[in-house]
């Protein structure tokens, strides 16, 4: 699973990374060539404004992957910080966890939409808006690992040996959170890509002329019967990307926790 998922994901990433080198301008409109069927020059045809659907799909995937990776990075960092504080410091634990519970009960997409609508659309705001609802589950996960690890004899030994709390956290506790965090990162990445697509689909993502898989589907949906590829090309691209990320995550989980593999 690691290889299938990783392989497909690598292909999608490489295609997205080198997009400007091999596709046409995704913004370029041609009013005389709207809703064209696929051809050798334009593999997925053109949309209602005569833009190259293949170029837009590849550029849309670029945006999806950027959002996915940025959200993973920011969620992992903030989740790690909050989780370690909550897990290590009994005093903060209950307060932090109640705040996380509250944050968890606000539906992800509504929260993100409200943030985007108020702060205005833009890539960095989009990333923050998708990150905030993701933090509670990551913080919870890190906290649970920290809670179990800090009772281990080697942590006690380090503390008895005179090591200070920051050093114990850094040397003995943090490394233990990495495997769980890596598996979680794949989940976060998949759900961030889906949330970004959902937000763009609802009109609360990046501005409409910038190609994103979600807003492509949204702007082409009226032409579903005439030119199904304008909807399905970005849709399938999105699904394959998310599937690859999920497979990679499942594979990583089996790698880090072989006990689960036997049971499944």
């Amino acid at each position: 699973m690691v290889f299938t998922g990783g392989g497909v994901l690598a292909l999608v990433i490489v295609m997205a990374l080198f997009a400007p080198m091999y596709v046409r301008d995704p913004m370029n409109m041609d009013p005389f060539k709207t809703l064209q069927p696929p051809s050798a020059a334009m593999w997925f045809g053109t949309d209602n404004l005569g833009r190259d659907v293949f170029a837009r799909t590849v550029f849309g995937a670029r945006l999806s992957l950027t959002v996915g990776l940025m959200v993973v990075a920011s969620t992992a960092l903030s989740g790690l910080l909050i989780g370690v504080i909550a897990g290590y410091h009994r005093g903060f634990d209950s307060i932090i966890m109640r705040v996380m519970d509250g944050l968890m009960s606000i539906p992800t997409i509504l929260l993100a939409m409200a943030l985007v609508s108020l702060a205005g659309s833009g890539l960095s705001i989009l990333i923050v808006a998708i990150t905030i609802p993701q933090i509670p589950s990551t913080a919870r996960l890190v906290r649970s690992v920290v809670l179990s690890v800090r009772e281990r004899p080697y942590v006690e030994a380090a503390l008895c040996g005179g090591a200070r709390a920051p050093k114990v956290l850094w040397r003995h506790i943090l490394p233990n959170t990495i495997p769980a965090l890596m598996v979680q990162s794949a989940n976060i990445c998949a759900s961030a890509i889906l949330t970004e697509a959902g937000l763009s689909f609802l009109g609360a993502g990046v501005s409409p002329e910038i190609p994103s898989l979600g807003n492509m589907i949204s702007s082409s949906r009226l032409y579903l019967g005439l030119a199904p590829l304008t909807v399905f090309a970005p849709g399938v691209w999105l699904a394959v990307t998310v599937l690859a990320v999920n497979l990679l995550g499942d594979g990583l989980r089996d790698l880090f926790d072989p006990r689960l593999k036997r049971r499944r």
């Binding site: 109640r98 509250g102 606000i106 539906p107 997409i109 702060a119 579903l224 849709g235």
Partner: protein, 313 residues
């Protein structure tokens, strides 16, 4: 039990307080002037000032919060700036499609997911089990709007068996109501069936390997009795948790599904409110939906005891 219910209720109230503070601060702390955003680009400074006055943004933060919280406690969620109607009225006008879609989706995904999960666990490694693995990989990865347009393309535009979009109130007849909800329900259910089936399978597998299951088999219990009477009851707690949790995701899915199939529900209300920057509506619906989520999870926690009398609080 009584003590547990009390403690659980208090913690639910605490969570709601956090939600309230968070949603309140959202409007005030986000960069950009909410009043100017709401008024639009062509508004005069007087109009912006008017909206600011109407929202009470000129008062100190604590005063604003107390007023707002007192309003919510007395059942006043504020009024829409755009429509001029109270948020609760707007919500009650739009609640029927959303409730219909949510209930149908829950029925389909809970029955479908549990049955699928039980059969996969019963014949672990068999055909159904491998089907489930493939199905859940797809269910987790394909977003509801892609599934929705795919179904529309196949069953509405292609074969013309089902309506493309729209909603017919249940008051106008059960059959047209149901026909309009088939595709939205199927599209939305896919990922929940996968989600519930995966957990059911894992939970059932654990129970099926218990000693008492072997005893039941040895004394000649039928397959049906073993799976549904002995195993499912013992495997129920995690399944219930997942059903409670999936409600939170359901709301997000409902918003998108309503947009795909053009159902005039709460989801459309929020999307329209967000496009119009009608903040009281966004704020009111967020509070309502989060409150519902907290209540459902409270109910799930209390229901554990019903399905598993061994649980003592």
């Amino acid at each position: 039990m009584g003590g547990y219910v009390c403690r659980r209720l208090i913690s639910a109230i605490g969570v709601m307080a956090v939600v309230g503070v968070f949603i309140f601060l959202l409007l005030r702390l986000v960069p950009g002037d909410a009043a100017a955003m709401m008024a639009g680009n062509n508004a005069t400074p007087q109009e912006v000032a008017g909206i600011r006055e109407q929202l009470g943004l000129n008062e100190p933060l604590t005063v604003q919060f107390v007023q707002w919280a007192l309003g919510i406690l007395s059942g006043n969620l504020g009024s829409s700036i755009f429509a001029g109607l109270p948020v609760l009225t707007l919500v009650s006008q739009r609640i029927e499609p959303t409730i219909s879609l949510s209930i149908l989706t829950m029925i389909v995904s809970v029955t479908g997911g549990i049955c699928f999960g039980i059969f996969a666990a019963w014949r672990a490694g068999g055909f159904v089990d491998r089907m489930l693995t493939a199905f859940s990989a797809v269910g987790y990865s394909v977003p509801v709007f892609v599934v929705g347009y795919f179904l529309t393309y196949c069953f509405s535009l292609g074969t013309r068996w089902l309506p493309v979009q729209g909603y017919v109130s249940i008051g106008q007849g059960l059959a047209p109501w149901f026909v309009h909800l088939v595709l939205p329900t199927v599209a939305l259910s896919l990922s929940y069936i996968a989600f519930i089936a995966r957990i059911t399978r894992a939970s059932m597998l654990e129970v099926l390997s218990e000693d008492y299951m072997r005893t039941a088999a040895a004394k000649g219990a039928s397959t049906y009795a073993m799976l549904f009477h002995y195993a499912l009851k013992n495997a129920a707690a995690p399944i219930l948790t997942v059903i409670g949790l999936s409600f939170a995701y359901l709301i997000g899915g409902v918003v998108i599904t309503e947009t795909v199939f053009n159902l005039p529900g709460i989801g459309r209300l929020v999307v329209d409110a967000i496009n119009n920057r009608d903040y009281p509506v966004i704020q009111g619906v967020l509070i309502l939906v989060s409150g519902l989520y907290v209540l459902i999870n409270l109910a799930v926690d209390l229901a554990y005891r019903l399905v598993d009398p061994r649980i003592r609080y």
